[in-house]
Structure formats: structure tokens, C-alpha cells
């Protein structure tokens, strides 16, 4: 699906002919490639400071080699267990609750016969995706405020007690995940709706003739047709199990919920940017990148074996 290897319909030219035909393109992409090398690859090289004692204000790769000292320090600190646990819990929770929702929405919309209704639901459910994370986090904080927040006003109206949602640390993950579902289910369903709109209608007609009801048609036709797309997306998601988006967690984080909300990326930001422990935070970042990389490769291999669907 998302591989970069293109079709080879024409034979690749020899270097000389290719340069003669495309010299302008080569020339024009040189700055872009140079940009990629400086902005993406130089930091990969710079990650070597994870194995050094870098002092702020000195040249980038100056300090002494210290091997795995910073890694050890991280693994032995209380933050290792806490940030890894929270990161994994939040992404697994998001995956389990959030992943099936777009599929469900797409299937439900596929059964709608009134086009205007389908369009309305689509238009409205796609919209939250365009809200910025800052606005999203603000809305969460305002709506969930104790006493005067929208949700608590409602609870009080139906005779329940007001709940101080944001100060209850055990609620952090649920709030994070459910607000994510609210924001991105519609957007996530686009892929599946597109897949469904490309399906051969004859299959459904044949099933109707055979007396299959709607639920049976969904279970035996619609769902299997969505499976390849779903697997690819699942691979992509599994590859990022160890990376939770920084912004929303960071914006919703308070001292009160830190124990439940501290993830690897927020800890890297705190220790590296705010605390200026550059080598230490780089080590944590590198650890995280390596785990992500291994995860993606292995999930991809597993899927290739089991279902012959893979990213690369």
C-alpha cells in the first residue's frame, strides 16, 4: 500500500542518458535532498551524543565517550518503568478502542440508503480532525471542569454529583482515548468508505438473491473486503505502539496526573529541553526509536508470513 517502490513500466536509462534527459530535475531536487540530509540525517548522526558526556555550549560531538552510561541510568531510574508503562498502556488502549471504530462507522454508513443523511454524517464526523490539538485539549479541560464544566452541569442536572475529572489521575487515559475517538473516528473511516465504494455490487446482489440478510451480508462480504486495508493500518499502528503523540498528553498533563500521564516523549522533553540533560535525553530518544523500528519490522514480517500483506 504505502511503499515507495514504483512500477517499472519503462527501462531505466543509463546514467548518461538519464542525466541528459532529466538534468533539470536532478539539479532542482539537489537542494531538497540536501535539506533531508541536514534536517533528518544530521540528527541521526548527532544521536551519538547519547554515548558521550555532552556539555551544553560545546561543539556537538565533543564530549568523552561513556558507552551506555546514560541508557543504564534511564533503565535504573523510576522513570523507565513509569514512562514505558504509560506509553504502552495509552497506545494499546487507543488501539483497542479506537481502531475498530472507523471500520464500524464505515460499515454503518455503507448501509445507509439516504444519501443526504450519509453526507451529513460524513461532513460532521470528519470535522473534528481539523481542530488543533491545543483547541482540543482546551475543550477537554473546559468541558470536564468541576462544577461548571458542560459534562458536570449535565451530571448535576440528572441528580448526580460533580466529578473532578482532570484531577483524578486514573481517568487520564480514558479521557485521552475517548477524546481521540471523538476527534478521529470520522477521519479514519474515509479509507474504509473509499474501499467499500469500490466494491463490486454484484456480490451483494447475489447474496440478496440467496436470501442473506443485512447482518449476514456485512459479516460475510463487507467485513472480509475491509480486512486487507485494516491489516495494513494495524501494522502501521503497531509500529508506533511505543510512540504516543506528544502534544495532547503534554497539554493535558498536570502535576496531579503525572504518574499516569508521563510518557517517553514528555519525559524526553522535560529532561532534555527543560532540564538541559542533552546526552541523557538523547539516549532515551534513541532507545525509543530503536524499539519503534524493531516493532515495525517485526509486525511487518509476521503479517507477511500470516497473510501475505505487508508494507515493504
Amino acid at each position: 500500500m504505502r511503499t515507495l517502490t514504483a512500477k517499472t513500466s519503462r527501462h531505466t536509462l543509463t546514467i548518461e542518458r538519464s542525466v541528459r534527459k532529466y538534468w533539470q530535475l536532478y539539479l532542482l531536487i539537489i537542494p531538497v535532498l540536501a535539506y533531508v540530509i541536514v534536517f533528518n540525517y544530521a540528527p541521526m548522526y548527532g544521536v551519538l551524543i547519547a554515548f558521550k558526556d555532552y556539555k551544553p555550549g560545546t561543539p556537538l560531538l565533543s564530549g568523552d565517550w561513556v558507552g551506555f552510561k546514560h541508557f543504564k541510568r534511564f533503565f535504573e531510574s523510576i522513570y523507565f518503568e513509569r514512562t514505558v508503562r504509560n506509553t504502552l498502556q495509552i497506545s494499546l488502549y487507543s488501539l483497542v478502542v479506537g481502531f475498530p471504530m472507523p471500520i464500524l462507522l464505515a460499515i454503518m454508513l455503507n448501509e445507509v440508503r439516504h444519501l443526504w443523511f450519509k453526507k451529513t454524517v460524513q461532513t460532521v464526523t470528519y470535522m473534528p480532525y481539523f481542530i488543533s490539538t491545543v483547541v482540543m485539549a482546551s475543550m477537554i479541560l473546559i468541558f470536564l471542569r468541576p462544577e461548571t464544566g458542560l459534562v458536570n452541569l449535565f451530571l448535576q442536572k440528572i441528580g448526580r454529583e460533580s466529578i473532578p475529572f482532570m484531577t483524578r489521575k486514573e481517568m487520564f487515559k480514558t479521557i485521552y482515548v475517548l477524546s481521540g475517538v471523538w476527534q478521529s473516528t470520522g477521519w479514519g473511516s474515509i479509507v474504509y468508505i473509499a474501499t467499500l465504494s469500490g466494491l463490486d455490487q454484484e456480490m451483494f446482489e447475489a447474496a440478496i438473491v440467496d436470501g442473506a440478510n443485512k447482518v449476514q451480508r456485512i459479516l460475510y462480504i463487507t467485513l472480509p473486503c475491509l480486512l486487507p486495508t485494516a491489516i495494513i493500518l494495524l501494522i502501521l499502528n503497531a509500529g508506533s505502539l511505543m510512540s504516543v503523540g506528544f502534544e495532547k498528553v503534554f497539554l493535558l498533563q498536570t502535576d496531579l496526573n503525572l504518574e499516569q500521564s508521563d510518557v517517553i516523549s514528555t519525559y524526553v522533553y522535560r529532561s532534555g529541553i527543560l532540564g538541559a540533560q542533552h546526552s541523557y535525553a538523547s539516549a532515551i530518544g534513541l532507545f525509543n526509536s530503536v524499539v519503534n523500528f524493531i516493532l515495525l519490522i517485526s509486525v511487518n514480517q509476521i503479517s507477511k508470513r500470516v497473510s501475505s500483506i505487508s508494507l515493504f
Binding site: R2, L4, A6, R10, T12, L13, I15, S18, K21, Y22, Q24, Y26, L28, I29, V32, L33, V36, V38, F39, N40, Y41, P43, M44, G46, I49, L60, L105, E111, F117, T120, V124, T125, Y126, M127, P128, F130, I131, S132, T133, V134, V135, S138, M139, I142, T148, Q156, W182, I190, A194, T195, G211, A212, K214, V215, F246, G272, I273, A281, G285, S289
Partner: protein, 299 residues
């Protein structure tokens, strides 16, 4: 007899299904739409009505003073101006770079496609991480300058894939071959033959990159510390989340007035910051759906 019976049962179960299906979709619609609607009505209602839970479906105690105060806030206006600049400049660079790379990779007979492809896609799977990136930016001297809001993320590999797929599948290769035989250079073919046929993909790229810049918050948080460079999202965060900043219209609003409108102002700030994206939303929908489809199915 048996057939008729099973057919009747099927249609009855289908009717139950439809009823449940429509009900659930209406519920989903309300759950998504209501918070958005509430923000709108709360921004034009009086704060006390909002805080007492008297605003439910329609505005109560209608006022526009909150908006007036938002527009009088110097930092919001400044943040707005900065964000417009970052979005316009950043998106333009994004599009030029993405189209060049994608068009180059779409030439199936071009030498070196493999290595270029690898160089780009590897960045999707591995990165140096925050701190090394920060240190590289610092040695480039772009920290605390406008560049740091424009340059990072110049090309998104995902968008390159979408654009390359479009160039390969939606622009007839005969057309490009003909232009080449007529003596047009690769660049001329791109600007005079391919670009005029690529409006949909240009729209998709503009939306994806543009919304990204407009909503971007992380780079500003980490790389900017000068107030006058802050984008809108960072100003928003200071007002709405940390409370580090209050919306104050100096000399115009009294303390009492500020207290009176404090709640509505929050909602007004949300609306004001989201309005450009939401106004464009109806026009964008056709294109972003197309973009997601190209990215997912044909890629």
C-alpha cells in the same frame, strides 16, 4: 411456502437492523456535533448563563463583546499574523519541494530513483529524536527565528507518495512523451503540461500542509521563546491551558467586565482560531477525501 417465510423474516430483521443503524448514527452525529455547537453558542452567550448551565441549545444573554475583546488582545492579533505568515510561507515551500521530488520519482526511466526513494522513506522509520534535532537546529542558528516555523517538515513522505501516485496514474504518459519528443525539457513538461492537469493534487497538498502549519504547536513550544514570534496556537495555549496569559483589552474593559466575559472569551478564542480552517472546510472536503483515497488505495 418455506421460501416466502424466510424472505419475510429476512426483511423484518433488515428493518430492525436499519432502525438500530440509523439510531446509532444519529447518536454519533449528535455526540460529535453538540460540543462544536456548544462552543459556538457559548461564545455569544453571557458568561453567567454559560456557567449556570442555562445555555443548552441556543445562545442566552446574547453578546458579541467577547469577540471584541479577543480582537483587541495584542498577542492574539500578533499570533494570528505570525501564523498566517508561517502557513503561507511554509506551505509554499512544502508544495514546491514535494512536487519536485514526487515528479522526479514518477519518471519510471530515471536513474537513481531507488537511492532517492530509500533516502526519503528511511526517515519515516527512523529519526534522530528531539534532542539531536534541537542541537542541529541550534548549530544551524534557526532557533528563535521564523525559519524554525517554516523549514522543519519541508517534505512529508506520505504526501510525496500521494503526489507521485497521482503523477503516475492520472497524467497520461503519452502526453509527457509527446512533449519530450517535441523538444520540451523535463522542467517545461512539468510546468506547462503536468502542473495544469494537477489541480486536485495541488489542492490536496495545500490542505494537508496548510492545516498542519496552522495547527502546529510543538515546534513553537520547543524552538521559540520570543513572544513576538509566537504562532497563534502557542498564544492559545497560554490563554486557555496554562492561564499564563489573560485576554485583556487594556483601557477598554474594566476588571468587572473582564470577569463578566471571562468564560465567553475562552469560547470566542477557540472560534476565532479555528474559523479559517472551518470556513475552508466545505471546499476542502472533496479534495481531502480524494487525497486519502489516493494515498490508501493506489499507493
Amino acid at each position: 411456502m418455506f421460501l416466502a417465510h424466510s424472505k419475510m423474516r429476512a426483511s423484518k430483521s433488515d428493518r430492525i437492523f436499519d432502525f438500530v443503524n440509523y439510531s446509532l448514527l444519529i447518536l454519533a452525529l449528535l455526540i460529535v456535533a453538540y460540543p462544536l455547537w456548544f462552543v459556538v453558542i457559548a461564545s455569544v452567550s453571557s458568561s453567567s448563563h454559560v456557567l449556570n448551565g442555562e445555555v443548552t441549545l441556543l445562545p442566552k444573554g446574547f453578546q458579541l463583546k467577547a469577540y471584541e475583546m479577543v480582537f483587541q488582545n495584542r498577542n492574539i492579533v500578533l499570533g494570528y499574523r505570525n501564523t498566517i505568515f508561517y502557513t503561507a510561507a511554509g506551505t509554499s515551500i512544502n508544495i514546491v519541494a514535494t512536487v519536485l521530488i514526487a515528479y522526479t520519482l514518477a519518471q519510471s526511466d530515471l536513474r537513481g530513483r531507488g537511492p532517492i526513494t530509500f533516502l526519503l522513506s528511511f526517515t519515516m522509520f527512523f529519526s534522530g529524536g528531539l534532542i539531536p534535532t534541537y542541537l542541529v537546529y541550534r548549530s544551524l542558528g534557526i532557533i528563535n527565528t521564523r525559519w524554525v516555523m517554516i523549514l522543519p517538515g519541508m517534505i512529508s513522505v506520505y504526501n510525496v507518495i500521494i503526489a507521485r501516485t497521482f503523477f503516475q496514474n492520472s497524467i497520461p504518459s503519452e502526453l509527457q512523451d509527446a512533449a519530450y519528443i517535441d523538444g520540451a525539457s523535463a522542467l517545461k513538461t512539468l510546468t506547462w503540461v503536468v502542473i495544469p492537469l494537477s489541480k486536485p493534487i495541488l489542492a490536496v497538498l495545500t490542505i494537508f500542509y496548510g492545516v498542519g502549519h496552522w495547527n502546529s504547536f510543538f515546534n513553537a513550544l520547543v524552538f521559540l521563546s520570543k513572544n513576538e514570534l509566537y504562532p497563534l496556537q502557542l498564544v492559545l495555549r497560554n490563554i486557555l491551558i496554562t492561564g499564563a496569559e489573560r485576554v485583556e483589552a487594556v483601557g477598554i474593559a474594566s476588571v468587572a467586565e473582564q470577569v463578566r466575559y471571562a468564560e465567553s472569551i475562552k469560547y470566542a478564542v477557540i472560534i476565532v482560531s479555528s474559523v479559517p480552517v472551518l470556513l475552508l472546510y466545505p471546499f476542502m472536503q472533496k479534495y481531502f477525501v480524494q487525497g486519502v483515497m489516493i494515498g490508501a488505495i493506489k499507493g
